[in-house]
Symmetry: C2
Subunit: 571 residues, 2 copies
């Protein structure tokens, strides 16, 4: 069941749902003409279909291996990577000064989504490089930028992020890796980092590590963290890789999924590093990288969902089992109400999650192009939702994809289970989905809810107009937005953050449910009477009502939760 | 992190929530005195903790293998099986006339739950044997009963169910395996069966297959199916295994989970079989087996959830990461609101699912002991809910268990991921959860909703009384029951079954949510002011409200769903 890139879907979303035209109207993105957008989507889609998707199973069945200190990647990944680099697909949004295309993040998000559908384990490689490029563009010295950016953007070298240590996961501030000044402007980096995605591999002659570490006199916690560029091989004067920089791969993790992506434990021992950003300013630089990466991970979830959906739909259309008395019966299990319900819910959720992610990307692009604080705040608000909901949808759709397959879904040969195993990690890395929810109700509501209310104004305004032509769909969306508004009002009134945190995951899910209703409504209005209106009706009637329970949970507060003591939990 | 059998939890549920005393008051179960119940739970719990749980990881990492036509089971499974058989734990409820203990199914359900926590792959073995015993007790001739039951009940031999063929999964009526009379009262069975759980192994000297097949002149569909006992080795006159009966293991499936459970493709070629029940009466006999097995699978889901919960709680209590300003802080991640929320939701859901499963078992026991149609109808109503909700909870809890572990959850070494991989199949086999939901809204509502209304009367009656002492908890339960009542009324009024099927999965989940509220309320009333009241408050405030969205979905009907055509889904 080959992957088919949903190029038309992206075009529709750009044109009718997330208003890409408002981005390309900005001078900065003037080159992103409709023809360019079309060409990018089509060409990237073709590469995903023809070159990358065929490597997906091999990545799962032949994991990356550590052999005598060298990481060997899965069969076929080398030529897939060559095609990716050659086509310029590593960094679609990177700075043209260093060889990037300078296109909107909205386009990068679409391209990443397609690559993730084709092979999630593989897609992590360019995604990490993208984050590194972003961090260097914003925080590195001219010298570092000139040396590294062209090689990263072209795909000649790849990049990694090194945050986690055994005792420092979600709590980055607890990290211990040391950085001692060498006296020549460089630093000696020593320590162990874990969970380093694509931390080592044989696809490129060098690998560039961005490493968080502490200077000898650094303050404890996140205020004493600095960021360093530590290449695996030290670049010679001509820019080619020279001496080994003492970055050793200790081991690779044996994981539930993304077997094709080597997850390394890396040991640094007096490895030479160059400061990126100011001393003790590492967290800020890292957040540049992480915010972008969070949207990227959301797109991964959506891409995995798309792959799982296409896989399940193809199976269902082909599988004959029992009979159901329906008009225009296909004779396949798609005739059964519960199977059709699963497929429709999968498709409706993918649409909602993709619209949220692309709206986030559009806000990011507009914020960057215009410098307007409102758009930056919108992007900041939508980032945790895009990450968390996108990955939740990835897991839910992959799980339902298994269910559509029945017994075949549990047999690895079918490939349905791989989607679930692969996508599961996306709810964990780049800040767990719980961390995203905390970010949403605390930092992203530190404005007193202003960014959220502004978005809800947009939703309600659209629903009011839509009510004239599609009252049955518009009214529930408007009402859901009101319920969400009340939840936001309740949240921002809570002085004790734990009262917000207690229901934060439910709040984020409820927020996404409501936004999904809004974007489905936009789609229905854009193509009245068609498939999109029918899908919107399905979503608004059957899935949107979930927001009621979620937003009730969101407002339950911390008291009853903490009343449940650890002893109670262990009883 | 060793498994700890929740013996006190079962005792509490039996005494205060599901009224086991009403079962043991029946003469048939007079031997199930409180002391016996206590001894059974304690001894079974000890075996699970000390003998079975230690084999769980080995089953995953060293799957059963097919070597030269012989299936080799995972390391340690042989001695675990020996302990199981020796303790008489294969069939706690089996007929004492053939060596069983004759205890209530409620106790079997508790024992199965514990074995499933300890090792789900292993537990499938006795679960299948239990189903076979049940079918033989009800439908086999005296000769077959006398020959097979003692050996199955003692665990000397094991039993399997053979339904599925490549073209006949959920649609059992499509099966093609042939049964040709040999002229001596036996039949020659030929055909291929797939997904045969524990279809072959080296734990016992014989394996007894119950096989669905068609006589030469049989009607098409389910009316032309007969059931046969086909042993792997033909019993000699002294009852010991003799000649090989041409049951060949073609292959074992490579599965997402339960690696320790060999899932076989079996090839029958003129294998000798004995009819169980009348000719063409196979479906009825198989349903005896399946109904029981459905409750058993529900218990599997709950058992897996319990294992995953204990695993996650132990990890969370030990893991230090970040700080949270709470009273009586532990210093571990349990202090974080969202982690505590996950753990509380896991525990609350396990309680709800277990109460539903045990209520179903109690109804089954009372129906059997008294012959009262009301109890039989109650058991029939609760069976699909117990199966589907129990396994949904299994998946949800295992999934949240991974999330509690953060990055460690994605690394196989931790063991958290195994729970999810193992439990995933329980939502598929013994009738997918979608099939359960269809059964609930069609066959189980063919009484016009009578059994459901009777249960809701019980719920509302209890909530009315409870309102006097715990109005905050009782009122939402009463209101939820009313909303559910309205949904049942709507469902039974639908003449077109597809209108029921369209929202059947949501209906089942909503039904379970409401019942969960009822059982939590019972627990709170039984121990006011304690941990159980606090957990009930958590569930009723934060999880019960989900029923609103679910029951709205349940009543959406088929029209809008089928308006979404296969072309729409592929667009």
């Amino acid at each position: 069941m080959p992957y088919r890139a949903p190029v038309n879907e992206f075009r529709f979303l750009f044109d009718h749902v997330v208003d890409l035209a408002s981005v390309t109207a900005e001078e900065r993105f003037a080159e992103a003409t409709p023809d360019t957008v079309e060409a990018i989507l089509t060409e990237a889609g073709r590469m995903c279909e023809e070159v990358i998707a065929p490597t997906n199973r091999a990545g799962d069945t032949h994991p990356a291996r550590l052999e005598n200190g060298v990481v060997r990647t899965s069969p076929g990944f080398d030529s897939a990577y060559a095609a990716l680099a050659e086509g310029g697909w590593v960094a679609v949004s990177a700075d043209p000064e260093y060889g990037g295309m300078g296109l909107p993040v909205a386009l990068t998000t679409a391209v990443n989504d397609m690559i993730a559908s084709a092979n999630l384990a593989f897609q992590l490689n360019p995604m990490l490089t993208q984050g590194q490029i972003e961090a260097l563009e914003h925080h590195a010295s001219d010298e570092l930028r000139e040396l590294y950016l062209p090689k990263l953007i072209s795909g000649e070298w790849t990049g990694t992020m090194n945050l986690t240590e055994p005792q420092a996961g979600s709590d980055v501030g607890a990290l211990r890796t040391k950085a001692v000044p060498n006296g020549d402007g460089t630093y000696a980096i020593s320590g162990q980092k874990i969970y380093i995605t694509w931390g080592d591999h044989d696809l490129t002659p060098n690998i560039c590590h961005l490493v968080l570490a502490r200077l000898p006199d650094a303050a404890p916690g996140t205020k004493g963290i600095s960021l360093f560029m530590v290449p695996k091989y030290l670049p010679k004067d001509d820019g080619t890789p020279g001496d080994f920089n003492n970055v050793r791969t200790v081991s690779l993790e044996e994981k539930l999924g993304i077997h094709g992506s080597p997850t390394a434990v890396l040991e640094y021992e007096d490895s030479k590093g160059w400061l990126v950003g100011p001393e003790n300013g590492g967290m800020k630089a890292m957040f540049t990288m992480m915010n972008n990466a969070r949207l990227g991970v959301g797109a991964q979830g959506i891409g995995a969902a798309e792959g799982a959906y296409q896989h399940a739909l193809a199976y269902a259309m082909d599988r004959k089992q029992g009979k159901s008395a329906v008009e225009n019966a296909t004779g396949s299990i798609v005739d059964h109400a519960d199977v059709r319900r699963m497929l429709a819910a999968m498709k409706a959720d993918i649409f909602a999650a993709r619209a949220i992610a692309l709206s986030c990307a559009v806000a990011l692009d507009r914020g960057r192009a215009s410098g307007e604080a409102d758009w930056q705040a919108r992007a900041a608000l939508l980032t945790p939702i895009a990450k968390s909901f996108g990955t939740d949808v990835g897991m839910r759709v992959a799980d339902e994809g298994i269910q559509v397959h029945g017994g075949m879904g549990f047999v690895e040969e079918t490939g349905a289970a791989q989607y679930l195993r692969d996508v599961r990690v996306t709810a964990i890395y780049e800040g767990t989905n719980g961390i995203q929810a905390m970010d949403l109700v605390a930092r992203k509501m530190a404005d007193g809810g202003e960014a959220a209310f502004s978005l809800l104004d947009e939703v309600e305004g659209f629903a009011e107009t839509a009510r004239e032509t599609m009252p049955e769909l518009a009214a529930p969306v408007w009402e859901a937005a009101e319920t969400l508004r009340e939840a936001v009002e309740w949240l921002v009134a809570q002085g004790d953050l734990n009262d917000r945190f207690a229901g934060s995951s439910a709040f984020l899910k409820g927020f996404a449910r409501v936004l999904g209703g809004y974007y489905h409504l936009r789609a229905a209005i854009a193509e009245p009477g068609g498939a999109r209106e029918r899908l919107a009706r399905f979503y608004i009637t059957r899935m949107l009502p979930e927001h009621v329970g979620l937003l009730a949970h969101a407002r339950a507060g911390a008291k009853d939760l903490y009343a449940l003591t650890p002893d109670d939990l262990a009883a």
